[in-house]
């Protein structure tokens, strides 16, 4: 087939679309505010994207399975509370609490699987549990985080700003793991056709537990980074994460059918959505309109996806 090398795959087109949305937004910001095009400007613009990127990858793992996580934001908020209360005075307790949180998340995943419940219901219910735990641990926003953590989140590494490094490394590692290792292939197979995986002799429970454990781990990392940035804990710091992470996965080329997600796309999607807020401020969009305008951006990118899909089918 001679046209093979010129034919862009579906996934590549989706990636170009996500990257294009990000570049258009950056271009508009630099047009209005040329000063933003600097090491410092990038650091500021993308500062809050670091935890969102990791949380979006966690959401991606569940969407990979055909599940959805409506407790993402509450879970990350809970982790910031654990961090602000224990990580500085007694790191050991904090680590145990993190592991317990991951175990609870895995148990929730196992429960949905074993009882064949819809994840949308179970995770919605679980979000209130996470929130309750968070409020019990830290009733009002506050607490302290260790100096090394704020030092890390405020670190200015060479060459590229910190948030860009985080995004690059997260994208590279998750893309390699999920799309290129044999275990990642098994995980994608589970999302694509669970019965086939079962018929080939694999344990579905184990694979699903592995996926939920990874998602839990990523959310813990996200929460720790977030508390480093805000230098405290807050049960209600991240409720918007739930929808932003789902948006990031979908903008990045993922689909709810299971098995179809893109790690690089998800990272790009998270960057795009976290930039949307700054973008609108630079555009002098009044704060009251920003949520609606963010929705419009999401809508435009998704409309672009639909057009790409149609072209592909034709």
């Amino acid at each position: 087939m001679s046209d093979k090398r010129f034919r862009l795959s579906h996934g590549t087109l989706q990636l170009l679309l996500s990257a294009g949305a990000l570049l258009i937004m950056l271009g508009a910001i630099f047009h209005v505010q040329p000063n933003a095009m600097s090491y410092f400007g990038f650091t500021l613009l993308f500062k809050l994207s670091m935890p969102l990127v990791l949380a979006a990858l966690a959401q991606m793992m569940l969407i990979l399975l055909g599940d959805i996580d409506l407790s993402n934001g509450a879970f990350v908020g809970m982790v910031t509370c654990i961090t602000a209360v224990w990580l500085d005075p007694s790191p050991g307790v904090a680590v145990i609490a993190y592991l317990a949180a991951i175990a609870a998340f895995v148990a929730m995943g196992w429960f949905t699987h074993a009882r064949e419940l819809p994840s949308i219901i179970v995770t919605l219910g679980a979000s209130f549990i996470w929130l309750g735990i968070a409020i019990t641990v830290l009733p009002s926003p506050g607490g302290t985080v260790p100096g090394w953590l704020t030092g890390f989140t405020g670190w200015r590494p060479p060459l590229l700003p910190m948030p860009i490094w985080v995004a690059l490394i997260a994208a590279a590692v998750s893309q390699w793991f999920l799309m290129h290792t044999s275990f990642g292939t098994l995980l994608r197979a589970t999302g694509g056709n669970a019965r086939a995986v079962q018929k080939a002799g694999w344990s579905l429970s184990r694979l699903r537990i592995a996926i939920y454990a990874m998602a839990g781990g990523l959310m813990v990392a996200s929460g720790v980074l977030l508390s480093g940035i805000i230098t405290s804990g807050d049960p209600n710091v991240a409720p918007s994460y739930t929808l932003l992470t789902i948006g990031a996965v979908i903008v990045g080329g993922g689909a709810f059918v299971g098995g179809r997600v893109s790690p690089i796309g998800t990272v790009l999607g998270a960057l795009t959505l976290s930039l949307a807020g700054s973008f609108l401020s630079f555009m002098h969009v009044p704060a009251t309109w920003q949520i609606g305008a963010q929705g419009a951006i999401l809508f435009l990118v998704l409309a672009g996806r639909v057009i790409v899909d149609r072209r592909k089918l034709a």
Binding site: M1, K4, S9, H10, H180, T181, S182, F183, T185, L186, R188, A189, G191, G192, N193, R195, A196, V197, Q198, K199, A200, G201, W202, G259, R260
Partner: protein, 489 residues
């Protein structure tokens, strides 16, 4: 090699040791016996063809053999040893492979990645290159020059190409050898050339000592390669024959095994101008429905009857002909389980029962009462919720919904599924009576006996209405012949 524990009867088996042997295998789902007390054996290098009607228990048997479904009872030995709690994983370790109907590939993965699913050995550094080589060489062996891109997601390939990948994957080898392979309808989407290549591969594999179970509706394929043909019906093995000069008609006769039923034929329908006519645009037979005619849609399960039935229903509705639909899948398509018999029955007739924009309770009660009595629905009264009725009585209410309406054409989507015999015969009589009054029926069924009630029958094959049977020519063997005829010979 392995000890010769059980010799199968016959010349073929006398030479070869058994790969697997099951005695008294059974599988029940609740009260339903999908497989009852079945013996099955497979010798090394033997090719066994497994045939039978839809629902005969073939799938259950191969799923039990493959370890996908746990057996409810019976003894099962593999290579002379008791298999104990057989599982898909153990089956794989013992070299037993399965090729299911387009089900065991993940559409989001490439052929290379799908190969990894079957081979635990494909891991660690460079697994993808090894997987690619494995599947590519298997494809080159079985389907030379297929030109399939093994790095493209399988979901983007054609059905035929997917089936080739699935077959090639079944025969692919990494660390442990393939000893036996179960193929379930492997050629349903393959063209003639690929089918020929597949059958050659089966013969080659058999010579190499690989045992094969081939489940297919294409009898020609079985006659071409099988050493032995096992026929199933109603969860039992009803015949086990060596393939020395078997013919297609012998197989059809064994499978059919239907007692001829004598029934009074209705007078021939006057066929002048059809009430409704539907063309599929595929160049097959148009479906014409005349006044008072009962037209059946027959054929093997999944050959396009259901799709055509729905297409006719949609077209009739668009054309403005009053038409009603009786769903066979009661629970998901027909019932409002918590509503009363009356509400369920009158929903198709609400506008006829309306007085000044409001539904007249009195008229609804009257209409319901009359059909309630005509159909002898066994329930305390018309206010009873449908949930508390038996399946057969629920189905009667669905029939009443269609019959009480103004519909001139009534479309039946396998309406007798899971209904007891008594109810069936009551409803058959009712349908014939209603046809006498000039209503037309289009009837899709999976039960061949039901077509005795039809005036005309379209037999479907591969999505097309290929054969029309009329009046006296509607009989089980003719239907079977038409369902199987013309396929790979």
């Amino acid at each position: 090699m392995q000890q010769v524990a059980n010799m199968p009867v016959g010349e073929m088996g006398a030479k070869a040791p058994l790969f697997l042997a099951g005695r008294g295998l059974s599988k029940s789902y609740g009260a339903v016996k999908a497989l009852s007390d079945t013996d099955f054996h497979l010798a090394t290098g033997e090719v066994v063809g497994l045939i039978g009607h839809n629902g005969a228990g073939k799938s259950t048997l191969i799923n039990v053999l493959a370890g996908v479904v746990a057996r409810s009872g019976g003894i099962f030995e593999v290579l002379g040893r008791d298999a104990g709690d057989w599982s898909a994983n153990l089956a794989r370790e013992n070299g037993l492979r399965c090729v299911f109907q387009e089900l065991s590939l993940c559409p989001n993965l490439s052929a290379t990645e799908n190969t990894r699913l079957l081979h635990p050995a494909l891991k660690g550094f460079g697994w993808k290159q090894r997987a690619r080589k494995t599947i590519q060489s298997a494809l080159d062996t079985v389907f030379p020059d297929s030109g399939i891109d093994v790095d493209r997601p399988v979901g983007e390939l054609s059905l035929g190409e997917r089936q080739m990948i699935e077959i090639a994957r079944g025969f692919s080898v990494t660390d442990s050898p393939v000893r036996a392979i179960i193929l379930d309808e492997p050629t349903s989407s393959l063209g003639a050339e690929a089918t020929r290549q597949f059958l050659e591969q089966v013969s080659r594999a058999s010579e190499d000592g690989i045992s094969v179970i081939l489940v297919t509706h294409r009898l020609g394929e079985i006659l071409a390669v099988a050493h032995r043909v096992v026929t199933m019906k109603d969860g039992l093995v009803i015949s086990d024959q060596f393939n020395d000069g078997l013919s297609r008609s012998e197989l059809v006769a064994v499978m059919g095994d239907l007692e001829p039923e004598t029934r009074e034929r209705r007078d021939a329908v006057v066929r002048d101008v059809p009430v409704f006519s539907h063309s599929s645009g595929l160049g097959d037979h148009d479906i014409e429905l005349h006044q008072g005619e009962i037209v059946g849609l027959a054929g093997l399960d999944g050959h396009g009857q259901r799709e055509r039935l729905r297409a006719v229903f949609d077209a009739a509705r668009v054309s403005g002909l009053p038409v009603a639909f009786v769903a066979g899948d009661r629970v998901s398509e027909g019932l409002f389980p918590l509503w009363s018999i009356r509400d369920n029955l009158t929903i198709r007739s609400l506008s006829a029962l309306s007085r000044g924009g409001l539904v007249s309770n009195e008229a609804a009660d009257r209409l319901t009462q009359s059909w309630f009595e005509r159909l002898k629905v066994r329930a305390p009264g018309i206010a009873t919720p449908l949930l508390s009725l038996s399946g057969g009585n629920q189905q009667k209410v669905l029939f009443a919904r269609a019959l009480a309406s103004d519909a001139r054409l009534i479309v039946l989507d396998d309406p007798m599924r899971g209904v007891d015999v008594g109810t069936k015969h009551e409803v058959y009589a009712l349908i014939r009576n209603e046809a006498e009054t000039g209503r037309s029926f289009l009837w899709y069924s999976t039960e061949t006996e039901e077509f005795e009630n039809c005036d005309r029958l379209h037999v479907f094959r591969e999505g097309r209405s290929e054969t029309i049977l009329d009046g006296e020519r509607i009989e089980p063997n003719a239907i079977l012949e038409a369902s199987f005829g013309g396929l790979y010979v």
